[in-house]
């Protein structure tokens, strides 16, 4: 048995004994909880793995049901809206929670959280407690994951090229160009300068916001990066977003030939196979890089999202150089706006379930989120869970036990912490029906732009026109009110 597996086994064993004192034996005997989430192996894996231990302690049966990511949003809605109520718990993107809470489909978990010491609620980072869990002052979901986009780089390749990790997107392109075609894993075949998942109808549409954020959001988190916070006018038909589109497309030249048809699962596979010099991804790469079979263990570095030395002046709709006024949060003259893409997988409980079932469903989500389980889960690449608790940043031991070196753990957690503590962190969109804005319009138009069906200017104009159409259709004032309320949330641990 490998050391990592042994530690995992012992930790689970200890956790079972430790938490069995909290749960009365067979407290939920005969209760079945169907948990709906997306097709794994990530996310579904820890939910399935923890089920037997929870069942042994409480008597509850956990069934994890999975659907493809693109179907998850509507699967939850249709299950609840039609009164089918096939599921008692859901693990989903917190930015969708408004669409589930407003019609009354999710249970208010505040009373459960307040009475639950084992959850260690204050240990959860403030951003995740607010953005991923709270709606109009009440807790509706339990955070299981912490999500930020970061740039990963090959330490050895950059050293060989005599280059530093990218601070701006222009530097990213320069490194990608310099590294592209070099054999980075010793198989005699040229590898790629940059690997980004750009497949349509998968998670690709988040990446354009990660590039655009540094050009568009400059005055702190509350400024927002998707819409003007006073008029709800989309912040896309401007030189900043168009420049981001150009950079995004320019990376095509340094990626795999079928980059437009690969998802994050593929780019992660390419990364651990040592085939990419740079990649843009969530925190998963860090733990996957130290997993068994990885060719980049000890060679993977992480850095906060690159930014820009020129930013959008919203008053004149032009790009202006960074200075103390235009970029008050700039680091060495570069405006970074780390994008909290997705926000982290979170679990909610169906309001339609019976009281005992609700209690059991909450207990299971709490069990998975408790430090005894989650502090180990976030160190394992296969879980898809990334750090979101303060203790996960402070205590390096689980990371070292998980295969990280001290240096790699500090580098990885440092990059996440730099994003999380940035006063200019850009929040993901959480207005009602945000899936229509992002999953449908943004995803489709970006895909058409990457496939040369549209120019950058045409793509920006089309997104603006169609986002405005959705806002008008759903009620601009109502959408604006929710957008403003979301921006009231501040970042930081």
């Amino acid at each position: 048995m490998k050391k990592q597996h042994l530690i995992l086994f012992l930790t689970v064993l200890v956790a079972v004994f430790a938490t069995s004192a909290v749960f009365a034996q067979d407290q939920y005997a005969g209760v079945t909880i169907d948990v709906l989430t997306f097709t794994g192996p990530q996310i579904a894996e820890p939910l399935q793995r923890h089920a037997p231990a929870f069942a042994a302690m409480t008597g509850a049966t956990i069934n994890v049901v999975t659907v493809p990511f693109a179907d998850l949003y509507q699967s939850i809605l249709t299950d609840q809206a039609t009164g089918t109520n096939s599921y008692e718990a859901f693990v989903f993107a917190p930015q969708w929670m408004g669409d589930y809470i407003v019609p009354g489909y999710l249970e208010n978990l505040s009373p459960f959280v307040e009475a639950d010491e084992a959850l260690a609620w204050e240990d959860v980072g403030q951003f995740f407690r607010e953005f991923s869990s709270t709606y109009e002052g009440s807790v509706y979901t339990i955070p299981l994951d912490g999500d930020f986009h970061m740039v990963y780089y090959r330490i050895d390749v950059l050293e060989q090229l005599g280059l530093e990790p990218p601070r701006t997107w222009d530097e990213y392109l320069a490194i990608a160009e310099a590294a592209n075609g070099q054999d980075m894993n010793g198989d005699g075949v040229g590898d790629y300068g940059s690997c980004i998942a750009k497949k349509r109808a998968e998670q690709g549409y988040w990446f354009i916001s990660s590039i655009a954020s540094g050009f568009i959001q400059t005055q702190g988190t509350s400024q927002g990066g998707f819409f003007d916070s006073e008029t709800l006018q989309p912040l896309v038909n401007n030189p900043g977003f168009i420049r981001a589109l150009e950079i995004y497309k320019a990376t095509n030249a340094f990626g795999p030939a079928d980059e437009l048809n690969i998802g994050v699962g593929d780019t992660r596979g390419l990364w651990v196979a040592g085939r990419c010099a740079l990649t843009l991804d969530w925190g998963d790469i860090g733990s996957l890089a130290v997993s068994e079979g990885s060719m980049v263990n000890g060679l993977t570095g992480a850095v906060i999202l690159p930014g820009s030395t020129e930013v959008l002046d919203r008053a004149t709709n032009t790009l202006v150089p960074c200075d103390e006024t235009t970029c008050p949060f700039a680091i060495d003259g570069v405006n970074h706006a780390p994008f909290a893409a997705f926000g982290g997988w979170s679990g909610g409980v169906s309001a339609a379930a019976d009281p005992l079932v609700k209690e059991a469903a909450y207990a299971y989500l709490s069990y998975v989120s408790q430090p005894a389980q989650s502090n180990i889960d976030v160190t394992i690449g296969a879980t898809g869970f990334n750090p979101y608790r303060i203790s996960q940043f402070e205590d390096l031991q689980p990371w070292l036990d998980g295969g990280f070196t001290q240096e790699a753990a500090e580098n990885y957690l440092g990059a996440i912490n730099a994003s999380l503590s940035s006063p200019n962190m850009m929040l993901d969109l959480r207005v009602p029906q945000n899936a229509r804005y992002q999953q449908v319009v943004l995803d489709e138009v970006i895909s058409r732009y990457l496939a040369d069906e549209l120019t950058a200017a045409e793509a920006a104009a089309e997104i603006e026109m169609r986002w405005n159409e959705i806002s008008d259709e759903l009620g601009r004032d109502a959408q604006l009110a929710v957008y403003q309320a979301t921006l009231g949330i501040q970042g930081g641990n």
Binding site: Q74, A81, P103, A257, N261, P432, V440, S447, E453, R466
Partner: protein, 386 residues
């Protein structure tokens, strides 16, 4: 067998005494057809007609979640307007460009042929007002579709989901028929292992479409797929099926052809095996060569079956969704996005109004193509080859 004499005697009795009330048995007997049909009618109404009406209403509405549930607001034809003239026009119909000269000849031939058919009908003694209206409608819609295809495939034009679907339908069905007929002809010959090949050729049809989608996704992945080393060995390490719109569409068509050629094959094989041996032998005695045998004896006999199987596949292929959804997600851009995938993409973001409107436009397109095929194409093909 016992009930029959009783029923007969009851009937005879009823004839003899007209004012006598019919017995319970005869009343039950009279009602039995309706009673027995009722469950089927109810099920058909519940599962087919009712959703059809509801989705028609949804296509004229906006679906929205509100506090405590959802709300459906009637908005008239706005969803259709958005698709045909509004923000979704480029997605649905495509980007129109000036028609290139290469299209002029086919368009002129099509226009001329349709005008000739119309003229012939107008001058024929069996002309009717209804028939004339239907023909004019067919001419306008077919002509419009041909112009749309030419304009979106010319120069800077880009086909929308409607034209992409038509490319899949006609490209895929033509290949399926050609390959299916070829394989069926091969297996009517005396070759070794006929039974084995018959089963092997049928296998793709047995696999779930989603499974085939994933299979082709792996096969077309040139960086990590199982065929990657072969591409590299042929010096095509940087080749990708999804790099261009045409190769991505070709990949989808190949997958669909691989799955559905067996359907064509098995039906055409049955038709070929039904061709009279005596007629073929008579042809051989008269000195006909292989081509003549096929053209003048075999083909006329299999044409009715061929047109039927083509019609079935045309209707089915209009609904293509699994292959493009799994293989390319509709990309690159919207190059492989079919109408059903377009509707599905709207549906999964809970834009039920637009999704239903696309579904209705698809229903209209399928119905129109099927009607034209049955009333104009099928009849003429059978006449031409008989």
């Amino acid at each position: 067998m016992q009930a029959e004499p009783q029923r007969l005697s009851a009937a005879v009795g009823a004839m003899g005494t007209p004012r006598e009330r019919p017995s319970i048995w005869s009343r039950l007997d009279a009602a039995s057809p309706s009673v027995l049909l009722m469950p089927t009618v109810v099920i058909v109404l519940a599962l087919s007609i009712f959703p059809l009406i509801v989705s028609l209403y949804l296509s004229l509405s906006r679906f929205q979640f509100v506090r405590g549930g959802f709300q459906i607001t009637f908005i008239g034809f706005r969803n259709y307007e958005k698709l045909l003239f509004g923000s979704e026009q480029r997605h649905f119909l495509g980007r129109i460009a000036a028609i290139e000269p290469i299209w002029w000849l086919p368009l002129a031939l099509l226009g001329g042929y349709m005008a000739y058919l119309l003229f012939r009908y107008v001058t024929s003694p069996r002309r009717r007002i209804f028939g004339l209206v239907m023909r004019l409608l067919t001419l306008v819609i077919t002509g419009g579709a041909a112009l749309l295809i030419a304009a979106t495939l010319s120069g800077t034009g880009l086909p929308g989901t409607l034209v992409v679907t038509l490319i899949f339908v006609f490209g895929s069905v033509a290949l399926q028929y050609g390959i299916g007929l070829g394989l069926a002809l091969l297996l009517t010959q005396n070759i070794a292992g006929k039974r084995f090949f018959r089963i092997i050729f049928l296998l793709p049809m047995m696999i779930t479409p989603v499974g085939i989608g994933f299979l082709f996704r792996m096969l077309t992945n040139t960086t990590q797929g199982p065929l990657g080393p072969i591409w590299i060995a042929f010096g095509q390490a940087d080749f990708s099926w999804v790099e261009s719109a045409s190769s991505a569409r070709l990949a989808v068509i190949i997958g669909d052809v691989w799955q559905w050629t067996p359907f064509m094959f098995i039906i055409l094989l049955a038709a070929l095996e039904g061709v009279s041996r005596e007629t073929i032998e008579a042809g051989l005695v008269d000195g006909a060569n292989r081509f003549q045998l096929f053209r003048f004896i075999v083909l006329p006999e299999i044409v009715p079956v061929s047109t039927t199987v083509i019609l079935i596949r045309l209707i089915e292929t209009f609904k293509i969704v699994d292959m493009p959804n799994i293989l390319t997600g509709g990309g690159p851009g919207t190059a492989t996005e079919s109408l059903t995938l377009h509707a599905y993409n709207s549906w999964r973001a809970l834009d039920l109004g637009q999704s239903s409107a696309i579904a209705y436009l698809l229903l209209f397109t399928v119905t129109f193509v099927a009607m034209v095929f049955v009333n104009f194409v099928r009849k003429r093909i059978i006449q031409a080859f008989s």
